[in-house]
Symmetry: none
Subunit: 230 residues, 4 copies
Amino acid sequence: MPEANSDDAEGTRRKVPDPAAATARPRRRQARGERRIAQILDAAATVFSTAGYTGASTNAIAREAGISPGTLYQFFPNKEAIAVELGDQLLRRWRATYGRALTPAHLELPLEELLEAVLDPLIRFNHENPAFGVLMHGPDVPGKIAMDHADLHSSLLPQVEGILSGYLSEASPAEVSRIARLAFATFKAGLDLTLSVEPDERDAYITELKTLLFRYLQPLVEDCRTRPAS
Amino acid sequence: MPEANSDDAEGTRRKVPDPAAATARPRRRQARGERRIAQILDAAATVFSTAGYTGASTNAIAREAGISPGTLYQFFPNKEAIAVELGDQLLRRWRATYGRALTPAHLELPLEELLEAVLDPLIRFNHENPAFGVLMHGPDVPGKIAMDHADLHSSLLPQVEGILSGYLSEASPAEVSRIARLAFATFKAGLDLTLSVEPDERDAYITELKTLLFRYLQPLVEDCRTRPAS
Amino acid sequence: MPEANSDDAEGTRRKVPDPAAATARPRRRQARGERRIAQILDAAATVFSTAGYTGASTNAIAREAGISPGTLYQFFPNKEAIAVELGDQLLRRWRATYGRALTPAHLELPLEELLEAVLDPLIRFNHENPAFGVLMHGPDVPGKIAMDHADLHSSLLPQVEGILSGYLSEASPAEVSRIARLAFATFKAGLDLTLSVEPDERDAYITELKTLLFRYLQPLVEDCRTRPAS
Amino acid sequence: MPEANSDDAEGTRRKVPDPAAATARPRRRQARGERRIAQILDAAATVFSTAGYTGASTNAIAREAGISPGTLYQFFPNKEAIAVELGDQLLRRWRATYGRALTPAHLELPLEELLEAVLDPLIRFNHENPAFGVLMHGPDVPGKIAMDHADLHSSLLPQVEGILSGYLSEASPAEVSRIARLAFATFKAGLDLTLSVEPDERDAYITELKTLLFRYLQPLVEDCRTRPAS
DNA sequence: GATGAATGAGGATTCATTCAT
DNA sequence: TATGAATGAATCCTCATTCAT
């Protein structure tokens, strides 16, 4: 129940009449259900990005979704489950829209272009989906980054690690992990900055953020290239 | 009433003869009261750093302080006032303990040493006072960094700007501001990382953070030095 | 939501077939809810008339209604809203029960009979609904009669003015207003008196009040009749 | 202690060294105490007339008086006692300033002049001491005019009865009482009206109130005069 | 599945009053 | 006497969650 069994709730939003006639009936139900879920998640995104996770109330989400609290709880067992599912959905959406940027081909690019190719869509996506940013941090407490509501953090970090480990061929896994964490944290901080800043300053901040990350990572990359992995 | 000139109310870290003692006489009726204020602020620090600003309840703070809610409100008119005063106290404590690092002399140091001199105490202080970090961020919503409860952010950022503008003699004020914001945000993010990481990894992360900031700022500094301000 | 079309929610005094029944269908989901609203308003009437507006607590009202505070707030956003709705309900009830006294025909009656026709039902209604009297005054401070919680005062005064302006054809609007205010205030004071007095004295007080008002208004009326409006 | 025996707390603010040397010491104490009491009552008058009896908090009164709550409770055992004492003080003040109007000689005047002589000072006094009006009513609830905090009501009513019984020589005590109550209640209502009305309208309302009372009482008086007390 | 009613503990805050100094 | 600290129940109101229909 907590999972809100959305095993298929995302990519496979089938419109086809579903040839398997036998299974058709049960699915029907789920069709409405998925619409509801989408409704709720949309509302949640709005409310979370407006009030933050802690400040968001399930009643507010239900109201925003135009449904009753009871209905909301028919799809999600509690507030956290909404956050989790919203996080998943955003992740899926991210992959579906901009995520293609990360073709293996990109990993051959020079760092500067890689950053460009990764950061630009990610930033744009965050501006389009402000809830993404909210869910990337845990609620409030800094020392407690990894919250239980399986946040986006834990999903994205491995990706960063993956990319970086390609560039830092020489570094130990621990080093890669550390660098990835720091780079990712830095990116999030910079991202928040761009979100809090006047729109006309935004680009300058984005550029600055790219510069920052580039300067941080470039020497590490070079290091590896110079001294080819033994 | 909540003056709480608690420079010394808690740790009694000062060795100087306390010149304020003379002027403190007038309102010494509050001997008990100031102890209470210190108590409350201590409790608030604990609760804030445990539950975050939004999640902290005044009742919880009172409970933690071992007093009744009514008593708490004899000293602070509301939750925000507690946060403000706690922020101020932490700031005062910071200045009193590690803040001396920022002698004008330091501004002559090469960047690397400057960073060392600034970051080390700041990080240590944050580890000793985890509430500091909580109050450096506003509550929750990223796009809303500047909260009304005069946060530490607004107090510290100017200092960062001040230092950097010494090094970036050539940059325009807008640039300095941007760089300072990004550097500060980055620092906070990295700091949070060090707080969330296993103690034995801490130093590695700190080093990494210093490296990051150094690499970001070094070229800017050099730029200014090479091309002497026209 | 707190429509509480409780014309009939409590006394069910009407004999007419209730034409509203047809239109009421659309939102009949709240069958239980409207009962609750009536319950709450009943409880509020009791508590208000016992403790006064200021002294009445929403928790007390909820307790009196046999529900939890949360439930109360599902129907009313705050204490004032309860008072407003209760005032409205009482007004509706008044109109539905005794309010018919004010046929245009009555305005042709001699003053004495008019008073009889108006005051008797009004007094009886007040004795049956003591909360009415409480809501006719603002809370406490005399110099502040008009409170924001749209009190009955502001609803009834115009009616008094209306009736009187028929009788005082010659007087200026300002005069009519003044006379109406004073007469109404006097009535309320006398009414309170009848409420505070032993039951067996009641009638004597009521008679006295009628006499008072009659003597006050009669000369004004005569004045107008003698000297026909120029 | 509750009585705060301020028998002489108002008119007789003696500065003379008190010739009776023997009794001087104990009095000394009381001198300060009486000043305190006066202070508190002044503050109470302000707060009561601003917030009403129910809305007035003892803390607010203490603050307004510039003393601590503890001190307040050294002179009055509770809020009601303050109201009682304030009522008494106002009564004394009334008697000392305007109360002289009620010479036995006045009782020989024709009703109109009597009203003039009584109402004018009373109204003026009320405008100068708005707390008077607040304490003339009990707190809120109409049916509960006689509150325990021995209000001014119970003190003034007998006086009204006294005066009226002179004019209504024929009426039975019960009748006199009834007429007095109604007249007094009416007066209070009219008074409140003058307090709530724009200053420039005030006089018109006052005149109207006098007219009202005159018209009510005149026939009663005449009745008695015509038919001399058997 | 959907609704809206229901809950009751908990949130911030106030208040009359008492207590230690 | 005066102070201000202390109290704890009570204030209004919110919230995550559950239940009956």
